[in-house]
């Protein structure tokens, strides 16, 4: 399990400021508003074609792009304890892909960028995430993490 050394180091680096936390909390309270019914997306709907020679985004993903959508899944640990994004998977995953490279994730994941940073909490249960859908290959500036599908300005809640 030497693979995990990098991750552990990264987590150890992540500090946490209580004052900033209070600021975020305030912001989340200000931003939070009653949720309207919105289109849902499932993990099965991401791609219209999955082949050895490449993938194609589904029409549904293209149609919902730029819109606020809702999806349920499991939260995988982020790179840092106070990361602004996490990976949403269909089922809980044990792999520790950040240890070697982000490339060890499967294709059917969604990267979730939260409205405001919040501390990662492993609830070991399904969550509901809402946010604005975005598709296309994109590399995170801070971590180098490459994602194909993202939710921006997202919030999550327990089911």
């Amino acid at each position: 399990m030497t693979r995990c050394a990098v991750l552990n180091r990264r987590i150890a680096l992540g500090g946490f400021s209580g004052r900033r936390y209070c600021q975020w909390l305030l912001l989340i309270l200000l931003v939070a508003s009653p949720l309207k019914a919105q289109p849902t997306l499932t993990f099965e709907q991401f791609y219209s074609k999955v082949s050895v020679l490449g993938l194609e985004f589904s029409d549904r993903v293209k149609q919902l792009s730029g819109q606020q959508i809702e999806i349920t899944g499991f939260m995988a640990p982020p790179i840092k304890a106070e990361s602004q994004f996490f990976v949403l998977t269909k089922m809980p995953m044990a792999i520790c892909p950040f240890c070697s490279s982000d490339a060890d994730w499967p294709e059917d994941i969604l990267v979730v960028y939260l409205t405001k940073r919040q501390t990662f909490i492993q609830n070991n249960s399904m969550i509901k995430v809402t946010g604005i859908l975005e598709y296309g290959t994109w590399r995170d500036e801070n971590t180098g993490f490459v994602s194909l599908l993202r939710l921006r300005d997202a919030q999550f809640s327990e089911l």
């Binding site: 399990m1 030497t2 999955v50 020679l53 640990p77 089922m91 809980p92 044990a94 294709e107 070991n124």
Partner: protein, 584 residues
């Protein structure tokens, strides 16, 4: 930093007497290395501090290294900012068999290693070598495969596996230069180079270089065959082709995660047959689903180099055998377990519904490679024995073992008409897996623990193979084998096969610790098992137990007693007589 690499290496090499000088200089190849005459390697000396190049003395059996090797040496005054000097001489070899003493000094720093260089027999014993690797293959996998595939009554097996009748057998030690434990990278690397290495490394010694691609290289069997013979080379795996075991046939990196670079090494050496998963690393980054970080399109490059490309089982079957050079990619990542592919009609294989079986890949590889009158080396890996054993999913691991055995049966059939073929079957490292009896749903009560039968209360499981395909018709029979792993993270034991997908015993919490995956918590009879591994361990780990190697055919008699994993390389190069340079 220095202490962490110096101490383990030193203890691994010199367990009894530690000369005071051993701490001053590291020499690669390491002490007690055994090497093939003409086998290529990178020579490296690492001094403990910066030294004056004029003071450096390197003597091989008393002769200055410049007299032994014509290659240019590279003096690195301050390696990677470590304030220490190194000498590197790349791509050298030793042509004359015998014992070699290498003495190095610079000022007050000095060190010595001994190498043994061997010559192979003049007469080539085997035309072809087929090496099967069951990744993680342990004794319990074999026993369970026999029980579930052939049945057992009144104490006697009702049939024999293909591997059961291979003529020769030995125990193999799998430990690493830096650890008593090992992974699939350095174990397969030992088979493929004849040199030991550290965990995570392929075809290199683990030196202090910071760049994972800049460690002292050990020539691989794939390279040696391509450089010195006209034989063909085939690599078949149901993992990603860039995964450790297939990669070890011809690549060099200190970090097995260098998968994009490994694909380019495959391209440089061009094995004649490449069949497996891992297409994402062949695609340019502009293609959605690519895992490369450059715009190299290796699918196109291989096609331009004369390879026929097939991407599913149907194409493999229809066109594969007609190819002279064959690239088969059947999944973007690792291929799926045979239990999901062929028996459970679950969602796992929906993405790639037409993946070939390892048996089909083995047969096609033999069809293509056997066209070469000069013979071939074929490596076939049943990779998912290990990938299912890590998450404690023994049923999937055993089905993958049956598939390995059926692939060996195909090779044995080939050897009937090609008796000059050496077949070797082994794993790379073991898992802590064991069979202890049965689990009988029909025992009274709901407490699953009380349904575990041991000693005379175990009786026999009720698996059936009515259609005679060699696999039990159902994996979820009412009376099953009771199989447990001896090391694990926190998890829920459910005493049943997982029919939807591979088991995920533990997931990471916010502290980076692995906790029991709650999706199994409410399954009737689930029992929480507190882990016995460090909390950072996501799944079960490899065991240090000996590996069993079995073999048949010319050269197989060399397998007996206890052997180090580096000796498997020697059996192959001896059988193929590879120590005599290019045979034109």
């Amino acid at each position: 930093m220095k202490a962490s690499w110096l101490v383990p290496v030193t203890f691994a090499l010199v367990p009894v007497v530690i000369p005071a000088t051993a701490f001053a200089v590291n020499i690669y190849p390491i002490d007690r290395a055994t090497m093939l005459t003409g086998g290529k390697f990178d020579f490296k000396v690492e001094f403990d501090k910066q030294v004056d190049p004029a003071q450096v003395s390197i003597k091989i059996n008393g002769k200055s290294y410049q007299q032994v090797w014509s290659q240019k040496s590279d003096f690195i005054k301050d390696e990677d900012g470590l304030n220490a000097s190194s000498v590197v001489i790349k791509n050298v070899d030793i042509a004359t068999p015998g014992d070699y003493k290498v003495e190095v000094s610079a000022g007050d720093e000095n060190g010595t290693v001994s190498w043994s260089v061997y010559q192979t027999p003049k007469k080539r014993q085997a035309k072809n070598v087929i090496l099967f690797i069951g990744d993680g293959l342990s004794v319990a996998h074999r026993t369970a495969a026999r029980v579930m595939s052939k049945g057992i009554t009144e104490g006697k097996a009702n049939g024999r596996l293909a591997i059961d009748d291979l003529t020769n057998m030995a125990f193999i030690g799998t430990s690493s230069t830096d650890s008593i434990a090992a992974d699939s990278a350095n174990t397969m690397s030992a088979y493929m180079t004849g040199h030991k290495s550290g965990v995570n490394a392929l075809g290199v010694y683990v030196s202090r270089a910071k760049d994972s691609l800049n460690h002292p290289k050990q020539e691989t069997l794939g390279e040696l065959i391509k450089r010195t013979t006209n034989m063909s080379v085939g690599v078949v795996s149901d993992a990603e082709l860039e995964d450790a075991t297939p990669a070890a046939v011809l690549s060099h990196t200190r970090r097995r995660a260098d998968k994009a670079e490994i694909v380019s090494m495959f391209y440089d050496i061009k094995p004649d047959v490449l069949l497996g998963g891992g297409s994402a690393y062949f695609l340019p980054e502009t293609t959605l689903g690519s895992k490369r970080k450059d715009n190299q399109n290796y699918i196109e490059r291989f096609q331009k180099a004369g390879y026929l490309l097939v991407t599913n089982a149907n194409e493999l079957k229809k066109q594969g055998s007609s190819a002279d050079k064959l690239l088969g990619l059947f999944h973007t990542g690792n291929m799926d377990d045979v239990l999901d592919r062929r028996f459970l009609k679950n969602d796992v294989t929906k993405k790639f519904p037409d993946q070939p079986d390892l048996t089909e890949m083995t047969q096609t590889a033999l069809d293509v490679l056997s066209k070469n009158q000069d013979g071939f080396f074929l490596m076939v890996e049943s990779a998912l024995i290990d990938k299912a054993s890590h998450p404690l999913d023994w049923e999937r691991a055993v089905y993958n073992t049956i598939m390995l055995d059926q692939s060996v049966a195909i090779a044995k059939k080939f050897a009937e008409t090609h008796p000059d073929t050496l077949i070797i079957v082994t794993g790379d490292h073991t898992h802590g897996i064991s069979i202890i009896g049965t689990i009988d749903d029909d025992k009274p009560g709901n407490d699953m623990r009380e349904k575990v039968g041991v000693y005379e209360t175990a009786g026999y499981p009720n698996y059936q193979d009515k259609n005679g395909d060699g696999y039990p018709d159902r994996v979820d029979v009412s009376k099953r084998l009771a199989v447990f792993f001896n090391n694990f993270p926190d998890h829920y034991e459910i005493f049943r096969p997982k029919l939807d997908a591979r088991f995920v015993p533990a997931i990471q919490n916010e502290k980076g610790e692995y906790i029991a995956n709650a999706i199994y918590k409410d399954i009737p009879g689930a029992v929480l098992r507190s882990g016995n591994l460090p909390r950072k361990s996501d799944t079960g780990v490899h065991s240090v137990d000996d590996m069993i190697v079995q073999a048949s055919g010319p050269g197989a008699e060399r397998f007996h007693g206890y052997m180090d994993n580096t000796e498997l390389f020697r059996v192959i190069v001896d059988a193929l007589s590879l120590g005599h340079g290019k045979q034109e």
